[in-house]
């Protein structure tokens, strides 16, 4: 049985990888979603379809693709990122970005539709318009980010392939559960599983709380 400190190490790495990936995904996904919702440009429809299709991207496939890029003989092999937390962060960022972008697009396109004429009647600049929409979207965007975090934390296929499940280096909750289960170390697997479950419950609770707050604030 792993000592408690090692358990903590695994949970901490899980959170570090997934939270970093989700923050990066939000930095890319929210502006991308806003762009797709608000601006008209050639290729917009294609990009929208692509983003929505990528939402269902199988994590193993992302892991495999990234593995081929990062492996020693791959085009990015010189970076020596394979089997590092950085590789895991990249993989999860790829997985989560379409989720956040797609949610954001829906959120911004509803708000834009609703407020466009009002803001133009007020002679709001483009910058003022964007800031207003972001402010109006804030609760809904947090739910999008939490949904992304849920996907990142529970995903195993990508982190297993590009992380390698190396003890003290790249072992996260999902990969540790898989390993300990296969070793027959069920008590540890179950306790890790319970922690993961608790985290996921906590995230969903936060989601629910935010959504009801949003509805109360909106009252519409």
């Amino acid at each position: 049985m792993l000592p408690g400190s090692q358990l903590m190490e695994i949970v901490a790495l899980s959170l570090k990888v997934s939270v970093t990936a989700v923050l990066l995904a939000a930095l890319i996904g929210i502006p991308l979603g806003a762009l797709l919702a608000i601006r008209r440009f050639p290729g917009r429809t294609t990009l929208t379809v692509l983003v929505n299709a990528l939402m269902g991207l199988p994590p193993v496939v992302v892991g495999l693709g990234l593995y081929l890029l990062l492996s020693r003989s791959g085009p990015l092999g010189v970076l020596q990122l394979l089997y590092t937390p950085t590789a895991m962060i990249i993989a999860q960022t790829i997985l989560v970005t379409p989720v956040i972008a797609s949610f954001s697009q829906q959120i911004f396109s509803d708000l834009h539709h609703e407020y466009d004429e009002m803001l133009r009647a007020m002679r709001a600049s483009r910058w003022q318009t964007v800031l207003t929409l972001i402010h109006e979207a804030r609760h809904a965007l947090i739910t999008a980010i939490l949904a992304g975090l849920g996907r990142a934390l529970s995903e195993i296929g990508a982190v297993m392939i590009v992380g390698g499940n190396i003890n003290h280096a790249t072992r996260v909750m999902t990969t540790a559960i898989a390993l300990e289960t296969s070793k027959g170390n069920l008590r540890l697997a179950v306790s890790l599983g319970l922690i993961l479950l608790a985290l996921s419950f906590a995230i969903n609770l936060a989601l629910h709380f935010l959504r009801s707050r949003l509805e109360r604030a909106a009252h519409a």
Partner: protein
């Protein structure tokens, strides 16, 4: 001009000039889906401050016309010209109020910020706007939780931000109670008296009689008449306007 103690109005130069137009609408056309929604609409709004009431049955194109004048949509043909000395923004109140998901106070502060009112002036203006729209008691309430009439009053307060030279009001009293309607009409007359031109859509003929200086009658996307209110209500020139006032106009 009397100094306003309700609204942040600055003295305007334009009301001294007697002649000429504030807005000249010429042969305006707007088509959608093979239907001509506005057809050869022409009229002028005088640069004298005052209230023009736009009347017409449902679907006549009144809201469309307001959105065209407000610059929110483009006409397919024709022009809208503003007099060169037109100053100030155009305040709009939509038929359905569009309010931000924030408190009443935050909605008004947002409008003041968009209008680039200096920060130190905002608090005073906010207080005056809340009083003008009689919303002081619910300043902290979420705007979307207000009653329909309160929402319309908030939309009106917001339209007054930045001292508009022209106010486009689309059925602003449709869901106000008689007292709020009376207060609203007093406010509109006051704003007009301070130098703004007001174009107001209403289906309330009593209201039109009370506040209109002149009347525009729109039917099936065409202007049937534009006459001083007294003339219009004594005897409308067109049979359509007459029928509309009697409630016998078929659309």
């Amino acid at each position: 001009m009397p100094e306003s103690n309700i609204l942040p109005l600055k003295p305007k130069g334009r009301q001294e000039a007697g002649a000429g137009f504030l807005i000249s609408v010429d042969a305006l056309g707007y088509r959608r889906g093979g239907r001509s929604l506005l057809d050869a609409v022409s009229f002028e709004l005088s640069r004298d401050p005052g209230i023009t009431v736009l009347l017409g049955p449902n679907g006549a194109g009144k809201s469309l016309l307001l959105r065209l004048i407000g610059g929110l949509i483009r006409p397919d043909s024709g022009t809208i010209r503003f007099s060169p000395d037109f100053r100030g923004p155009i305040g709009m109140v939509f038929q359905k109020p569009v309010l931000l998901r924030r408190s009443v106070r935050a909605n008004l502060l947002h409008a003041l910020a968009i209008a680039r009112i200096p920060r130190r002036e905002r608090t005073g203006m906010l207080a005056r706007l809340l009083v003008a729209a009689d919303l002081t008691h619910c300043a902290e309430s979420p705007a979307r939780a207000l009653s329909g009439g309160e929402q319309q009053r908030l939309a009106m307060a917001r339209a007054l931000v930045g001292d508009p030279g022209l106010l486009l009001l689309d059925e602003p009293t449709a869901s106000l109670d008689p007292a709020a309607t009376a207060a609203f009409e007093a406010l509109v007359c006051k704003v007009a008296g301070e130098g703004a031109r007001i174009l107001l859509v209403t289906h309330d003929l009593h209201q039109a009689r009370r506040i209109a200086d002149d009347v525009l009658f729109l039917h099936k996307g065409r202007i049937f008449e534009h006459t001083p209110a007294t003339t219009f209500f004594r005897a409308p020139a067109s049979g359509e306007a007459d029928a509309y006032c009697k409630g016998t106009l078929l659309t």
